[in-house]
Symmetry: C2
Subunit: 223 residues, 2 copies
């Protein structure tokens, strides 16, 4: 018998939260856009209560912000915010990679290796979509292997705050190879069981990402 048959009905507020989040990620709502409880409620043909709840949850996650007049906007990180977010991510992810370098199992290392080699072949074939996916997977595996649920949650929340800019990651000077090199160095340090080096390499790699992002953002702003 299918286990999933007796599934509890998902409450509206969760569905709405999910949907709004997707819309923010997909750019249907853009940074700075204002959101209205009533309008969303009408759109989903439900009352304001669950919508309100979903919005509040997203405010707590930082994806929406409320000004002093209780008006809701899609979060648009300032440059300072972007730096702060990356600083926090580096802090957490470098800790994760330190742990992984100390205690990763053989199987886990194989998974990292496979992701890397898949990444390499994706670069050869020029499959952008695949590359982005595998790069994200590499980071995710490291977080997973650190075996710290809370760290994972924090990193994911931080990532989601700059998620709107994720497609910029592969744009820029020779990015695919630079990223691959960065990941490769991290992997190298892990199999050497050298936590310090792994942490250091991750910091450098993330710094590259940040620098690239900031350059592109500035470039865009100038035009």
């Amino acid at each position: 018998m299918n286990q999933g048959m007796l599934q509890k009905a998902i409450p509206y507020y969760e569905q709405v939260q999910q949907t709004l989040k997707e819309r923010i990620f997909n750019g249907i709502y853009e940074p700075g856009d204002r959101l209205y409880e009533v309008q969303i409620a009408r759109e989903f043909a439900i009352s304001r209560s669950p919508v309100r709840e979903a919005i509040r949850a997203l405010i707590n996650e930082g994806l929406l912000i409320m000004d002093d007049k209780s008006q809701i906007y899609v979060y648009e990180p300032s440059l300072k915010d972007v730096y702060e977010i990356y600083e926090c991510r580096v802090a957490l992810e470098s800790t994760a990679v330190t742990l992984v370098a100390q205690k990763a199992s053989e199987d886990q290392i194989l998974q990292l290796e496979k992701t890397l080699s898949d990444s390499a072949s994706a670069i050869k074939k020029g499959e952008k979509e695949e590359m982005a996916c595998l790069n994200a997977k590499f980071h995710e595996l490291i977080i997973d292997f650190s075996d710290n649920m809370r760290l994972k949650k924090l990193v994911n929340e931080l990532k989601s705050l700059t998620n709107y800019y994720r497609f910029l990651n592969l744009e820029g000077e020779d990015r695919p190879n630079v990223i691959y090199k960065g990941h490769f160095d991290i992997f190298q340090a892990i199999i050497e069981r050298n936590p310090e080096k792994a942490s250091q390499k991750l910091k450098e790699h993330t710094h590259d990402d940040l620098e690239n992002l900031v350059n592109l953002l500035n470039h865009k702003r100038e035009r």
Copy 2:
């Protein structure tokens, strides 16, 4: 004319959130206690809506948890949780102290020094309350001086999750002096402008705190 005169009324849901948080911190609600929307609403003589909103906010902060039947309980960290939380805190705080060692101003260093010396005299006089306060202040100053609002917010949220155990921090073998020594070493590294060392000392210091806490918790559990 007093600037504060035209203050916007604080909405109920914020007041309730604040009050509930205080109750959790003060142990009026203990870990594992169940909370009811209706009951709290009756107590404050308001409707369920703002109460519900406050509860959801505290769930997002992690101070309350909801089981699969939508029942609300005060969060009680497992031992694994405590380790995870501390791991995240170390990651963030060591990053902060690294930054502080790099760029702290003279004035900021003086503030740290004063907190330390106040701490020393509080130990001499045996003022426990004062000691706890100054120890917290030392950590807070470091976070503040790192000039990263987001990092500060994350650390505060993590702290609040084990806040219930804060009074255990000074209990145990010669804790006041051990803590003072830890803070002193960190301070020393900062004035030496040695980020690596500062980070290392903070990690050791926090590790002491954690070990002490776990010991006391195990000890309690045995009885």
